[in-house]
Amino acid sequence: MSDRSSLVAASASRLQPGPAGRKPRRMLSPRNIMLYGTLLVAAIYYLIPLYVMVVTSLKGMPEVRLGNIFSPPLEITFEPWVKAWSQACTGLNCDGLSRGFWNSVLITIPSTLISIAVASVNGYALANWRFKGSEVFFTILIVGAFIPYQVMIYPIVIVLRELGIYGTLTGLIIVHTIFGMPILTLLFRNYFAGLPEELFKAARIDGAGFWAIYLRIMAPMSLPIFVVAMILQITGIWNDFLFGVVFTRPEYYPMTVQLNNIVNSVQGVKEYNVNMAATILTGAVPLIVYFVSGRLFVRGIAAGAVKG
């Protein structure tokens, strides 16, 4: 039977350019068992931490102490989540992770918008309005992306202190804009350079200037790259720890910093279930962005990683 069906398939493929390639194999060949077996084991390894986080956060403390970390909860409780969100302590403050969450929102939204606005205009200028020296600055920018942050942190502290915004949200937003600039500028520059030049020329002849072309032609045509940049920036800024800890005062600490302070605080009894609930809550935003955006996320990190 399989012979005949493959014959039919072969003759069909001769008639029309259908799916080419080798003949389909049986699902349960040794090769497939090896292949899917390995992939499955790898997938389980990658999923275990997520599973352990969720399971631990749904247990009560007595159960955590008795059971093993991989066993599902006998009695599901959401109390650790409530506690992590509204009561967990960092030092003397006991108002939970919610404060860090809102700080992170207040940091991430303006930082994302401003860094993208600045970098997209930069990329546009580099792609369409080159001037003498523009490539030199761009090269410095790209090379700068490889310099460890630790080298530049203190000079930035001094600059921000001189401007009187050290320790404020504004300062942190500027820092995120600065360090997002290399990769984003590169992303936008390459994208704009790939757009047909005739569009730009036609607009020039019609009398449009720098800003008019950017706002009416370039930006509306580039929605996909703006989305990619947003994904890149939201996850990157939300996950940032170093800049949060260096450039803000404790009352403005982003979620990651607060999470670390809650979990790694030395005082008090360790509540592992609350810690894991807090960890999931902090990871939730980038995870949601990741699952919703899917392929665009991959494109973003590929563009970011390969070139940056």
Partner: protein
Amino acid sequence: MDSRAARRPSRLLRNIPAKIASIPMILTALVIFLGGTVWTVVYSFTNSKLLPRLSFVGFDQYERLWAAPRWIVSIQNLAIYGLFSLIFSLGIGFLLAVLMDQKIRFENTFRTIFLYPFALSFIVTGLVWQWILNPEFGVQSVVRSLGWSTFTFDPLYTSSIVIYGVLIAALWQGTGLVMCLMLAGLRGIDEDIWKAARVDGIPAWKTYLFIIVPMMRGVFVTTLVIIASGIVKVYDLVVAQTSGGPGIASEVPAKYVYDYMFLAQNLGQGFAASTMMLITVAIIIVPWAYLEFGGGRKRV
């Protein structure tokens, strides 16, 4: 004459909006990236303590740095962590990419699973693995409760192997990215190469090893540079997972810099240590940039 002057102003005044729009980039490039780096290197030769002061002491800070046991441990950790994370993330990433490239079903599901850790921060990664590797409740206790009562797997509280505990977490977080880059590279290989290899009767594994891998040189080098520059920056993961402990066993250079600049208020040491980090990165980047860009220009 006048009208011509109006039409063709001096070079500096041409293209004004583009120059104004580039001010943020120019400031970032010159003041922060170039200026900041030079500033830090210059001040690493001073004995600044609480505040930066320009009183030069030559290489004193560097001598002190290389005499400090904590710095030596940090460098050793970075070397071990760097070497193994390069080998394993390239190896595992490439292997997974090859498996994913076998026209499998559920490719998207597998990709989603392998890559999701990359969306998480190092803090989250570190804390999860701190919990999984917890000796009282984690892997060790689970295996012991299965009957193997002498089983010992306690990397986070054993000085000699703590850096491998960090490595496990880092590989979990980062290999998905390597897999994605490698997969993109594999997909970029011409189908005809495969056909030719098949006609010649070369087994698939040999084709990968001796034909595909050499063809993917560019992808490998880029991935290597990405991983390597990430390795030098490793900081949050260690802070979250071990806080540098037990003792100083899992310290890394980036943490040394932060602690000396902002906690110990010994700026000069911090600057010297960060300059050493800069040199490390330069050793990785300069040959790559030379090969990739300098060499390319010559060929053209």
